[in-house]
Amino acid sequence: MLNVERPRSEIPPGTLEMLILKTLKRFGPLHGYGIAKCIQQTSEDVLRVEEGSLYPALQRILIKGWVTAEWVQASPKRRSRIYQLTQEGRKQLLAEISEYRRVRQAIERVIEPA
């Protein structure tokens, strides 16, 4: 199949962590690649993460204790590091979403024609 190039958007800065948390909440424990794919697919390919940038973001939320990571043997020759949302991560997600909504509404009010 041909890779149809559609216009893609960079994710707004600061929201990557929220997207990771939400993805983990919706789909359960995932590895890094899984998270990237899920974000891409749920956004219907509009949002495209520069996949590698997931990893620094994952470190940040690991430090904050919002997710935990664990190695599992995915196949005989491959291990995967699976990330799982913690209770704190859940709380943080709610906070970030409501903050995001507030900002979005504010922006929309500004740009909507009066």
Partner: protein, 891 residues
């Protein structure tokens, strides 16, 4: 806590850094593989799939770096690098490192030691549960002659306090006494009778058995409950857990041990070893009278009640009590009451003052040490200007440079702090030796707590304080040099050697030297005053000759007067007959030791009563102490029980009782304590020289001497030996035991030891302040030496030129010394007024020395000047030896 969790995760990962890198690598690799697989499934060929995967992934190396940084390791890495750099710098100058660490160890260690002492003696003399809410509740007696003194409660009055007050949620009574513990090895120990409430209130529980219960406040049966200290338990019972239930005899009362108190708990006196329940008190005095004031009270404030409110409440309560049952119907004495915080009541105000002054002096020493190190670092900074300039030129930011330059002092400070910790432990052991084993805690004590050197241990909170102090010290002496070095002018720095440091740098260092010399001067002045005051105390003329005199407190078991009198006269006779003994005497008062209870006397049987000390002594007493007879004669063996009663007056007693008249042949009424009768008349037969009873600082008071042959016997045995009397002790004990197998002998001391007991506070202050001052002087000398060495080195070329142009070596020497003198003069100008102002605080501690004494200021100024000139003489001599050719070639 969130911060803590984060740090914990960070550290946990930092610990396994290699694994982290491997994990990240593996994770990213598998990501790429999975993406490539999917790309292949979508129809790409293998190479294109891999390529696309990589493109989508982004810059893996940079991402790894960002991931790593997320964990905050960059700071750790940089710190590690700075540490390595600082260590290398220190290794290059081991002499500097050694001096710095030693100086800091002294400064920090002494501060920790002294603060531990301040903490244990002044801030937390007792460490009870919520001790800030505990109050010392007392009566106050106001008497015309003696002024205002805090008094104990009587049992009935305490009961009224319990019921009548509205400020305390709990009140406990106690009575402290020095008692004799019966048994095979009889020993004297401090015991307290306490009410059951006491232990509940202070929140201290028994380590073995239990504390008292309320039922034990009243007698039931023939025995009463008792608790023993951990020390007594280990000493007397070998730590036997079966001790509970054993019975002991304390001063004739039979007591059953119900528990053992935890280690370190030493009661209200600070050295209590046994506690008896209130039942023991009531067993000894079944019907305590209103006037028998012998119970101390401690209360815990109700929530919301302030100490001041409690004080007022007690005052009003006592006023009410006095209206209903006046204590003194004659109205000559006035009774009131009050309450003050327990922590305040348990500290000897004199000791508190002395220790705070000592703490201030110790902080001064640390400040001087800091100034020294700052100065040394400034010198090194100047020597490293070129290196630092190069690093600045190569792009190190000034902030980073300050940080790097601070790492070195911090390292030094931490090393100094660690060494200081050990030094403090040693210093505390030495400090313990300055506190006498038996501090004067005698007849009319006001519950000054015994200072227990055993409690001088560095505990965790104090050690933490020490580490913080070390860090603060590091910043204090490191910041200025680091900042100074980092703001260096690049251009100049790259060009010059030492000289490029410039005059501003020299001024700064000179300023620091002036500061430390001024500080040292303040300490020297304080120490000088204290030491001279102590010397004056030591030089006190007690009016007696004290060499080779041994004193013992001897008590026969008997209460019968005739038996007791026979016991003492036989004791005296046999003691005097011992080989090596010159003479022996007995008396009721001991020079220097006690002021003697006031006894009411009347002159010629009339006039107002005069409160005077009466010494019952045997005839040999005057000769033994070499007390001169000034008029008439002293009593002797002929003045026996059946002869006319006679008395001898001290010189000041004669002057005071019979001003301008001949006292001989006059009569004095004095009470016969033995028969509890007054009106016995004694005829004055002689006047002897004044003897100072009581500590050297006290006034010499009039004393009346009465013969033990005619009145009651004394209880001190004094023995004058031909040489050191201490080897006589076993023989003397043996004599006492032969005369009365149950006789008790204690407080065995030489007269010099007795005098030492009365001057220990002054000795403490003199020794410690002297030590601090000597240390500060030494540190200041090192500082001056350092700065001048540097200044001379920096001006080698100038010196060379001067010498080449014909300046004599003396002129060079004079030039450097003049600069030293100028700095000293500046230090004196700053230090003398400060010392003058600060030594005011010492005034109340000084004996026969005025805090404004010019001798002190002149001598310490001269000392400082001499040391300063010596410290700059050595570098100055080096300056005169500069070889002009060598110096001019220097650049």
């Amino acid at each position: 806590m969130e911060w803590w969790d984060k740090t914990r995760r960070r550290v946990a990962v930092l610990w396994h850094r290699d694994r982290f890198d491997r994990d990240l690598e593996e994770e990213m690799q598998s990501h790429l593989e999975m993406r490539a697989e999917e790309n292949r499934e979508n129809g790409m060929d293998a190479a294109a799939a891999r390529h696309a995967a990589k493109r989508q992934f982004g810059n893996a190396t940079a991402l790894k770096e960002t991931s790593r940084e997320a964990w905050g390791w960059r700071a750790a890495d940089e710190l590690a690098r700075d540490l390595k750099l600082a260590l290398r710098t220190l290794r290059r100058g081991p002499g500097f490192a050694a001096i710095a660490v030693t100086t800091l160890a002294l400064g920090i260690g002494l501060n920790m030691a002294v603060f531990t002492m301040v903490y244990k003696v002044v801030l937390r003399p007792v460490n009870y549960r919520d001790v800030g809410r505990l109050m010392d509740v007392h009566l106050i007696l106001t008497e015309e002659r003696r002024g205002t003194i805090p008094m104990s409660w009587s049992y009935p009055k305490f009961q009224e306090l319990l019921q009548g007050n509205s400020s305390f949620e709990a009140l406990a009574a106690f009575q402290a006494q020095v008692l004799t513990l019966g048994g095979v090895d009889e020993q004297r120990l401090t015991a307290e009778i306490v009410s059951a409430q006491y232990f509940r209130m202070i929140g201290v529980n028994a380590q073995l058995g239990r504390v008292f219960v309320d039922e034990e406040d009243t007698p039931a049966g023939a025995s009463s409950a008792m608790l023993i200290s951990d020390g007594l338990w280990r000493r007397n019972f070998g730590g036997d857990p079966g001790v509970v239930g054993r019975t002991l005899h304390l001063e004739g009362v039979s007591l059953t041990i119900v528990g053992v108190m935890p280690p370190g708990f030493k009661g209200e006196t600070g050295r209590t070893e046994a506690w008896a329940s209130m039942a023991a008190y009531l067993m000894r005095t079944p019907h305590p009278g209103r006037g028998a004031h012998n119970l101390e009270a401690i209360g815990r404030l109700k929530p919301g009640v302030s100490p001041r409110q409690a004080d007022e409440d007690v005052r009003q309560l006592v006023a009410r009590m006095e209206r209903e049952h006046p204590t003194d119907a004659t109205g000559m004495t006035k009774w009131s009451g009050g309450a003050r915080p327990l922590l305040e009541a348990r500290v000897d105000p004199e000791v508190r003052r002395a220790l705070w002054i000592l703490q201030a002096a110790t902080v001064c020493v640390l400040l001087i040490a800091c100034v020294n190190l700052a100065n040394l670092l400034l010198g090194r900074g100047a020597a490293r200007r070129r290196e630092l300039a190069i690093r600045l030129a190569l792009g190190t930011s000034r902030g980073a440079l300050v940080r790097q330059l601070l790492v070195e002092p911090m390292l030094l400070a931490l090393a100094g702090g660690a060494a200081g910790l050990f030094l403090a432990a040693g210093a505390l052991r030495a400090l313990g030796l300055i506190f006498p084993a038996a501090q004067q805690w005698g007849f009319n004590f006001e519950y000054t707590r015994f200072i227990d050197p055993e409690s001088f241990r560095i505990e965790l909170p104090l050690a933490v304080c020490g580490v913080l102090l070390a860090l603060a010290t590091g910043i204090a002496f490191g910041l200025l040099p680091a900042w100074q070095a980092a703001r260096a002018d690049l251009n100049q720095g790259l060009r010059g050697g030492l000289e490029a440091a410039g005059p501003r740098h020299i001024r700064l260092r000179n300023g620091l030297v002036v500061v430390q010399m001024a500080l040292a001067l303040v300490l020297l002045a304080g120490a000088d005053l204290t030491i001279r005051s102590f010397a004056a105390l030591l030089a006190t003329n007690f009016g007696v000759e004290t060499r080779n005199i041994l004193t013992l407190n001897v008590q026969p078991r008997t209460r019968d007067d005739a038996v007791s009198r026979a016991f003492y006269s036989e004791l005296e006779r046999r003691a005097a007959a011992l080989p090596g003994v010159v003479s022996a005497a007995v008396s009721s008062m001991l020079p220097a030791y006690d002021t003697g209870q006031g006894t009411e006397l009347r002159i010629d049987g009339q006039g107002p009563a005069i409160l005077t000390g009466v010494n019952w002594n045997s005839p040999a007493y005057f000769g033994l102490f070499r007390i001169p007879t000034l008029a008439g004669r002293v009593f002797d063996e002929r003045d026996g029980e059946n002869s006319p009663r006679v008395v001898v007056l001290s010189e000041s007693a004669a002057r005071r009782f019979f001003p301008g008249a001949n006292p001989l042949g006059r009569r004095i009424d004095y009470p016969d304590m033995r028969r509890n009768r007054t009106g016995v008349i004694g005829e004055v037969i002689g006047v002897v020289g004044d003897v100072k009873y009581g500590p050297p600082g006290a006034k010499t008071r009039p004393v009346v001497y009465s013969s033990t042959l005619q009145n009651r016997p004394g209880w001190f045995l004094e023995v004058r030996a031909a040489r050191d009397p201490r080897p006589l002790v076993p023989a003397l004990r043996e004599i006492a035991r032969t005369l009365d197998p149950e006789a008790r002998v204690y407080d065995v001391r030489t007269m010099d030891q007795v005098i030492g007991l009365t001057t220990w506070r002054a000795r403490l202050a003199a020794v410690l302040l002297g030590l601090m001052a000597a240390l500060s002087l030494a540190l200041a000398a090192v500082g001056i030496y350092g700065v001048f060495s540097y200044a001379v080195a920096a001006r080698t070329r100038e010196m060379g030129v001067r010498i080449a142009l014909g300046a004599g070596r003396e002129r060079i020497l004079g030039m450097v010394l003049r600069e030293g003198a100028a700095l000293s003069a500046a230090a004196l100008a700053v230090g003398l007024p400060v010392a003058w102002a600060l030594t005011r605080t010492l005034s109340s501690q000084l004996y026969r020395v005025s805090a404004a004494d010019p001798v002190t200021y002149v001598s310490v100024a001269a000392l400082l000047l001499a040391v300063a000139l010596l410290a700059c003489y050595l570098p100055a001599r080096r300056a005169t030896r500069v070889d002009p050719v060598e110096a001019l070639r220097h650049e």
